[in-house]
């Protein structure tokens, strides 16, 4: 079992659900983004999802897309990003960090190099434009105990779902609805689907897309293992900076205790 999966299973023994929070490396500056990450780790986020920005983030909505473009003006490099995360992660051993990006920046860096550089700070990798057929791309990560985090969607046909589940380790990223990040979601409709999924796999289920209130998280308890919060925290930060982000984080966190 991957370190990530073990971590989630262990945490879940004492907690109804975990919280995974999303930060964009380099937004609004590299320094600021590291400060946001550290704050979230300090406040006890279970899993920190660091997005390495890409120029063409097709699976992201306007908030994250715009932030990525701002981040890119600070010329982030993946090497420095990994080094920065490494420095940070060692200071917060109680949390886990997963990397999220698009295929091309990873490809250009090389998955072998990524395996070498990202471990042990990084324990999982999300690439929304990498389909399951192309799983061989992330093969090199296994040896470094970096779990590829595959996405599932409600409408997935059974063969494809089976293929995804058999490749899954660490956690699954269950997309709650169609569309990109940042919109609203009807959570009730989601839970049925999660329950079916839970019967088919022991890999922990993370649910993303549209979680912005404690009620959303409460609704997921018993159905999912991890609530993933992305745009909501970014919006809070954009509205009134780090303080607002912390307030929002804390209010979400109470729903996970």
């Amino acid at each position: 079992m991957s370190t990530l999966q073990t971590y989630i299973k262990t945490q879940r023994e004492s907690r109804p659900i975990l919280l995974m929070t999303h930060v964009i490396y380099g937004y609004p500056t590299i320094k600021d983004s590291l400060e946001i990450m550290e704050t979230l780790l300090r406040e006890g986020t279970d899993i920190l999802e660091v997005q390495f920005p890409f120029s063409d983030p097709v699976a992201d909505g306007p908030t994250i897309t715009n932030a990525c473009h701002v981040a890119l003006e600070n010329a982030p490099t993946l090497r420095q990003c990994l080094a920065d995360i490494n420095a940070l992660a060692t200071r917060y051993p109680d949390s886990k960090v997963v990397l999220m990006s698009y295929l091309n920046p990873m490809l250009q860096f090389g998955f072998e190099a990524l395996a070498d550089t990202a471990a042990p700070a990084i324990s999982g990798l999300i690439i929304p434009d990498l389909p399951i057929e192309q799983a061989s791309f992330v093969e090199p990560l296994k040896a470094a105990d970096i779990a590829p985090i595959w996405l599932t969607i409600p409408q997935m046909d059974s063969a494809r779902l089976a293929q995804t589940l058999s490749a899954a380790s660490g956690m699954l990223y269950c997309v709650s609805r169609s569309g990109v990040t940042g919109g609203a979601t009807a959570f009730d409709a989601v839970t049925d689907n999660l329950d079916t999924l839970k019967q088919q796999t022991s890999v922990p289920l993370g649910v993303g897309f549209g979680i912005s209130k404690p009620e959303h998280i409460t609704a997921l308890i018993g159905h999912a293992d991890i609530a993933i919060v992305g745009s909501a925290l970014l919006n809070a930060y954009n509205e009134a900076g780090l303080t607002q982000l912390v307030t929002r984080f804390k209010s979400l966190q109470t729903a996970t205790r």
Partner: protein, 409 residues
């Protein structure tokens, strides 16, 4: 194409999982449609009755004589309805969308040509149409936006990123991610995830098929070389593919822009600024920096100003089935003027790239050789760009007077 939509190492399908089902539906709908003689007949009927195909093959005796080398002929895609080859593709995809029961199409557009073509065909087929266009492009290419509006289409300004074509493409894909149930994403060039490269190239292949059958009469035989400009690569695929495996040399012409520096051109070949990458749904040669970030591009012609390129062409280059060259803005303007004054044809700036390459190479060839240039579109649309490039003062006076009159009214 392989089953996965691969062309050698290029192509494939790298899209958010949420789009997988729609993409698969499209793939099978496309395969079914192409196997259905009725669909093909309807497509050909629209291409003929609505868009005016076949387009002619025009000999250029004056230009050829002036150059003193090979004989030049033009495949006149500028005579299509909407003024460019883009029409072939939107007819094909529009009919396919209807066949799939879709009520709406979305399209991305740079200069607006594909947007106008999509809006036209949507009106014709009774489909709703939403066009994503970079806010920056909208500002500079407003006349096309105006026509899209007249055609009843909704134009959505995209403000992310550089607010140009690449960003419009990303945004269209985002729309598709939530609208695929009733919406077809009508990509305008032979790029993107499978089956788009194959499909668009397939719909465009009517161009090369017509040349194959017209050449014996007009040229007396098949051409020695064929030139086509390469943005996304659809007009090039369209004229090249039916000639694959023949002795005709195929030459693609990219936008050389104003120089070889980063951001000064849109060349995806013959530059170390481009290499294998995977983005926007497919694998190809992308202009990208060390981090794998896609690079800005530049060209006098908005239609060639794109960071990726058809995987079909990338593969052909790799296999030495296709030679890529480029034309710089200045040579393109010269070619534009030369074709206008010697043959009375006003070419699109995109197409003028192909003309420029032929003008550069023809003099070195013998008078017995015969070149076909794909004249992908007409130049009327480039009024503002050309007037600006040529610094035509009376045009500015005209605009100022027009504005003054409008203010009074």
């Amino acid at each position: 194409m392989s089953d996965e939509g691969r062309f050698g190492q290029y192509g494939g399908s790298f899209i958010p999982e949420i789009l997988f089902n729609s993409q698969q539906d499209l793939l099978s709908a496309y395969r079914e449609a192409m196997a259905d003689p009725e669909f093909k007949a309807e497509m050909l009927a629209q291409m003929q009755q609505y868009s005016g195909r076949p387009t002619p093959l025009t000999p250029c005796p004056n230009l050829s004589q002036q150059l003193g080398g090979a004989q030049i002929y033009l495949k006149r895609e500028d005579l299509n309805h909407s003024g460019a080859h883009k029409m072939n593709n939107v007819i094909g995809q529009g009919l396919l969308a209807k066949r799939m029961g879709k009520k709406r199409v979305i399209a991305e557009t740079g200069a607006g040509q594909h947007g106008v073509a999509s809006a036209l065909v949507s009106a014709r087929l009774g489909l709703e149409c939403t066009v994503y266009m970079g806010a920056h492009d909208i500002e500079r290419q407003y006349p096309n936006v105006f026509w899209m509006k007249q055609l009843g289409a909704t134009v959505v300004p995209v403000t992310t990123g550089a607010a140009t074509l690449k960003d419009a493409l990303d945004e269209a894909m985002r729309d598709w991610s939530s609208s695929f149930n009733d919406t077809h994403y009508l990509i305008g060039t032979s790029c993107g995830c499978a089956p788009y490269p194959e499909m668009v190239a397939g719909f465009q292949s009517i161009i090369g098929e017509e040349v194959l059958s017209q050449a014996p009469e007009v040229l007396g035989r098949q051409p020695d070389k064929i030139y086509a400009c390469v943005g996304g690569g659809s007009n090039a695929c369209g004229i090249f593919l039916p000639y694959k495996g023949t002795t005709t040399e195929l030459v693609g012409v990219e936008a050389g822009g104003i120089g070889d520096g980063v951001g000064e051109h849109a060349m995806r070949f013959n530059t170390d600024q481009a290499r294998f990458g995977i983005a926007q749904g497919y694998a190809t040669e992308f202009l990208q920096d060390e981090q794998g970030q896609l690079l800005p591009t530049q060209s006098i012609s908005a239609g060639l100003d794109y960071v990726g390129v058809s995987p079909i062409l990338a593969d052909m280059v790799k296999r030495n089935e296709l030679r890529m060259t480029a034309a710089r803005d200045e040579a393109v303007l010269d070619a534009f003027k030369r074709l206008a004054t010697t043959e009375g044809i006003i070419a699109a700036l995109e197409s003028s790239h192909a003309v420029a390459a032929a003008i550069a190479e023809a003099p070195k060839l013998s008078r017995d050789e015969k070149l076909v240039v794909n004249l992908s579109g007409r130049g009327d649309k480039d009024l503002f760009n050309i007037a600006s490039a040529l610094k035509d003062a009376p045009f500015n006076d005209f605009l100022a007077d027009y504005l003054a009159r409008e203010k009074q009214a």
